[in-house]
């Protein structure tokens, strides 16, 4: 099976019902996408499939054949995307575990709405759980990243 992740093509010998999450983490060693709950509730494992956020724990690998998958490793490896820079500027993270998923969701949000309002941010980002409680900082960082 051929899949494309962060613009790189991979040829995989896997059953089509293996969840994308485990393909990314265990086979491709792209461990930036995290496992949180496995049932699509916490959204930690969010990736973009053809630009749309999906829970990689629920998506069978067969579903992404011929589609473009973007993970946190595909945003910017140096951390110079405006969202990453804003996160850094404000020291958003605590334990850091949910932040790749948060960044992916925020990336999607600003691709749809380049200058989101607080309401836009709350609506989109409330999909995600942060057990450390970094929500206020995440909101502030998205506003900062989209200020210009």
């Amino acid at each position: 099976m051929k899949i494309k992740v962060n613009k790189v093509e991979y040829n995989l010998d896997v059953e089509s019902d293996m969840p994308l999450l485990w393909v990314l983490r265990d086979l491709l060693k792209l461990t930036g996408t995290k496992y949180g709950c496995g049932i699509g509730v916490c959204k930690v494992c969010t990736v973009l499939i053809d630009g749309v956020p999906e829970q990689s724990c629920l998506v069978p690998i067969g579903f992404v054949e011929g589609k473009e998958v973007t993970t946190i490793e595909g945003i910017s490896q140096n951390g110079d995307h405006p969202l990453q820079k804003a996160w850094n500027e404000l020291s958003v993270s605590q334990c850091g575990y949910c932040q790749p998923g948060q960044i992916i969701r925020a990336y999607y949000l600003i691709s749809k709405i380049p200058k989101p309002t607080i309401e836009d941010i709350n609506r989109e980002m409330s999909e995600h759980i942060c057990r450390c409680g970094t929500y206020n900082k995440i909101r502030e960082a998205i506003l900062l990243a989209t200020k210009e």
Binding site: V41, T134, I138
Partner: protein, 783 residues
């Protein structure tokens, strides 16, 4: 005096981890930096200067700080690096933190009790100052001047009144030939001279978090490794009767099935196959003696152990006699427990997020029957700790499975495994007698704590008259352990709620009442300041309320005001939180702010929605769907003031939790007159109506049964039926729509049956509109 000239062993380890494993190193360097280090390693020359186990200066003029406490989101890597960098006068942009492995040479590595900074404050300052003095001595010798004629700044030594300067990295070759000044001989800076400490600094790991490069416990990868999960007995105190693994072993990619004392482990080529293999196991369990155990039984037992509390003093004119209830809680870290272990050649290597790598090391040694010196416990990032990772059960299981299978093993819990096999925050009942005299002054506070798992009492920080504390506990075999803020979570909720009850009993303002009963000036200051910042006296709209509470602990003082609103339908909204915290000396104000917000959201989430319950001898919760956490749209705005009152820092990871819960409950009382004595709040309707039967002149509402387990029938009878159906909406206590249903007209009333199978146990509000009037009725889903 010892001389330190060594090739960095750590560096060598990075090199091998990189080249041998070929995948990732355990440390969150940027790739560029890591590459530089590895290249330098290959040149086989002196790489760095290590005046102590805490700090290394590299040739490339980086400062590498070894952090011997575990990063679990409390910011310890940044904080420790800051402390060393300050005394070393290091260029903060060239400071790197690495994790110490578990080793007694680092002292106590148990990351708990918010002790890290207080334990290592002086040690790390001295380590920085010692390295700085050594570098100055080296420069002085090169230049042939007195060390007194040198000064340091941004990782350089400068000649006073001169033009000469040398970077720390350039001084290494000279410094390794010089004696290291004893740590206790070096002069530490005055607080007023601090350049890095006391100012907001960025999280040293932020970039590795937001690029996905940070290596967490579950992220460690090694060529040839296998993945393992475990099937554990779901019954508390139950055991394995028999199992059949023939179907599991037929799955291609399942490598083996092993019985260990904790359960049945399935090892496979990847995580998914391990889970598939586990699903294919056929198992019978001995339910054990707790097969019928329920939370209700546990609390009934607690109540039976209250006994007779002593009497209040004779001058008591008014009193409160009541009980408070606090449930079991899971830690529910974002990252379920996981660990890498590789047992080979009689040695075991661990890579894991743990709050105690030293006990991980000793426990693995014991479990495998090898000596501690044959166990290497490396610390990775933890996707949350909150006390969970003091217990290294998951690391021990990884090691045992590796030994049995012969493979390098990544062992992991699923979310459900993690919640169902936690070491829970103990549940407790608090029996209280408290009174006031004729002038409204407290006469006594009698508090008995009954718990499963130890809960020590905490004495009030106010003068409440005669204080008498006692405890009792009863074991049901439910594993308990430390949970953020530990005993304070229950005690401060109870004490600060009771103080509020006493204030209302005395007809006094809750803030003034506290100020009059506090003798500690620092406590008074945070209370007074938070009242001023919030504007305590101001009018609030109808249905709004504010509550105050304070906490003294971990070397810090904090006071919280929580402002809430409760709508006509009963929906609770947390509007604002004000906090004033006195950490003594605030090392990193930005991180303090993060900790205060995070701990408050932790406290709000657990106060409102979460509890671990037991039915038929099994833990009922299994994930964030029934162990709910607040989301971005549910959290309040924060106003946080950080005071500086001394030269010494306090702990900070747990300070922000305890007083939020009572401040919230006191605010709900202020808004509604309803006193929350049982957590979570979600068990109590915030409307003063009886959910069983509600009648007005024109309307009768019925829910049957109520409380209900999964199904409930709603009945609305009205004199004025206008259409053949009526829309009812069902909301959770925070006003989130969870259900919408059409009620059918059946001749005399509207009726429907609803199935709440998938919703967590809690109060829900049934809301509908009739005759331009909005009606809201609470119904309660039981555990």
């Amino acid at each position: 005096m010892e001389k330190h000239c060594k090739e960095s062993r750590r560096r060598f380890i990075f090199g091998t981890a990189l080249t041998v494993a070929g995948v990732v190193s355990g440390f969150p360097f940027s790739n560029k930096l890591l590459a530089e280090l590895v290249v330098l390693d290959d040149k086989k020359k002196v790489l760095g200067l290590t005046p102590s186990i805490w700090v290394e200066i590299t040739k490339e003029n980086y400062v590498v700080v070894t952090v011997a406490r575990s990063e679990i989101g409390q910011g310890v890597r940044t904080t420790f690096a800051m402390i060393v960098a300050e005394e070393l006068d290091a260029d903060w942009s060239r400071v790197i933190a690495i994790n110490a492995e578990g080793d007694s040479k680092y002292g106590d590595q148990s990351t708990g009790g918010s002790t890290s900074v207080r334990t290592f404050w002086t040690t790390l300052r001295q380590a920085g100052a010692q390295a700085r003095q050594l570098l100055i001595n080296a420069a002085a010798e090169i230049w042939g001047i007195s060390p007194d004629n040198c000064y340091t700044q941004n990782s350089y030594v400068y000649e006073k009144n001169g033009v000469r300067k040398l970077s720390y990295g350039e001084l290494i070759d000279k410094a390794i030939q010089l004696p290291i000044p004893p740590a206790n001989s070096v002069k530490l800076k005055k607080v007023s001279d601090f350049k890095i400490l006391g100012k907001p600094q960025k999280n040293i790991d932020e970039t590795s978090f937001v690029t996905g490069k940070a290596v967490f416990s579950s992220d460690y990868r090694l060529e040839g490794m296998k993945y393992a999960v475990i099937l554990r007995c779901p019954y508390i105190g139950g055991s394995l009767a028999s199992f059949d693994d023939s179907e599991a072993k037929k799955i291609k990619g399942v490598v083996g099935v092993y019985q260990i004392s904790e359960g049945i482990a399935v090892v496979a080529e990847n995580s998914w196959l391990a889970l598939k293999g586990r699903d294919a196991l056929k198992v019978t369990w001995n339910k054990g003696t707790n097969a019928e155990l329920s939370t209700e039984q546990i609390f009934n037992k607690f109540y039976s152990l209250i006994g007779n509390l002593p009497d209040l003093p004779g001058n008591t004119t008014k009193k409160i006699e009541c009980t408070y209830e606090v449930p079991f809680l899971a830690h529910s870290t974002m990252e379920p427990m996981s660990a890498f272990a590789y047992f080979h050649n009689g040695k075991c290597e661990i890579w894991a997020g743990t709050q105690n790598p030293q006990t991980a090391r000793s426990q693995v040694a014991t479990a495998l029957g090898i000596t501690q010196s044959n166990v290497k416990a490396n610390v990775l990032f933890s996707g949350g700790g909150f006390g969970r990772r003091h217990n290294n059960d998951y690391i021990v299981m990884a090691a045992k499975i590796s030994k049995l299978s012969g493979f390098p093993i990544m062992f992991f819990y699923t979310k459900a495994d993690d919640i169902k096999n936690d070491y829970y925050r103990p549940a407790s009942v608090h029996s209280i007698k408290a009174g006031i005299d004729a002038n409204g002054n407290p006469t006594g506070f009698i508090h008995k704590v009954i718990s499963q798992g130890d809960v020590s009492f905490v004495s009030p920080s106010y003068n409440l008259g005669v204080v008498q504390n006692s405890t009792a506990s009863y074991g049901f075999g439910i594993r308990t352990g430390p949970w953020r803020s530990v005993d304070y979570t229950q005690n401060i909720f109870v004490i600060e709620s009771v103080v509020d009850e006493l204030a209302y009993l005395a007809g006094k303002d809750p803030l003034q009442f506290r100020l009059s009963l506090a003798s500690d000036e620092k406590l008074k200051t945070v209370l007074r300041r938070v009242g001023e910042n919030y504007g305590w006296g101001r009018e609030l709209p109808e249905g709004w309320g504010r509550g105050i509470a304070a906490f003294v602990g971990y070397g810090a003082y904090i006071a919280h005001i929580v402002e809430v609103s409760v709508s006509k339908e009963g929906f609770l909204k947390i509007q604002k939180i004000y906090a004033v915290v006195d950490p003594g000396f605030p090392i990193n104000p930005e991180n303090i702010k993060n900790q205060i917000m995070g701990a408050a959201i932790d406290a709000l989430s657990t106060a409102i929605n979460t509890e671990i319950t037991i039915q038929n001898g099994q833990i009922q919760q299994s994930g964030f769907h029934n162990y709910r956490w607040l989301r971005m749209n549910e959290v309040p705005e924060f106003n946080i003031e950080i005071l500086t009152t001394s030269d010494r820092p306090s702990g900070m990871g747990e300070v922000g939790f305890p007083s939020v819960t009572p401040a919230l409950c006191n605010a709900i009382f202020n808004a509604t007159g309803i006193r929350i004595r049982k957590l979570p709040i979600g068990k109590t309707p915030l409307l003063k109506v009886d959910g069983k039967e509600n009648k007005t002149k024109d309307l009768e509402f019925n829910a049957y049964p109520n409380p209900f387990e999964t199904k409930v029938t709603l009945n609305i009878r009205t004199n004025d039926i206008k259409s053949s159906n009526l829309i009812v909406r069902i909301f959770d206590i925070l006003g989130k729509l969870v259900f919408e249903s059409k009620l059918n007209f059946n001749g005399t009333s509207y009726q429907t049956q609803l199935d709440f199978e998938d919703l967590p146990a809690s109060v829900y509000y049934v809301v509908f509109e009739l005759n331009n009037q909005i009606f809201s009725f609470p119904i309660l889903k039981k555990n």
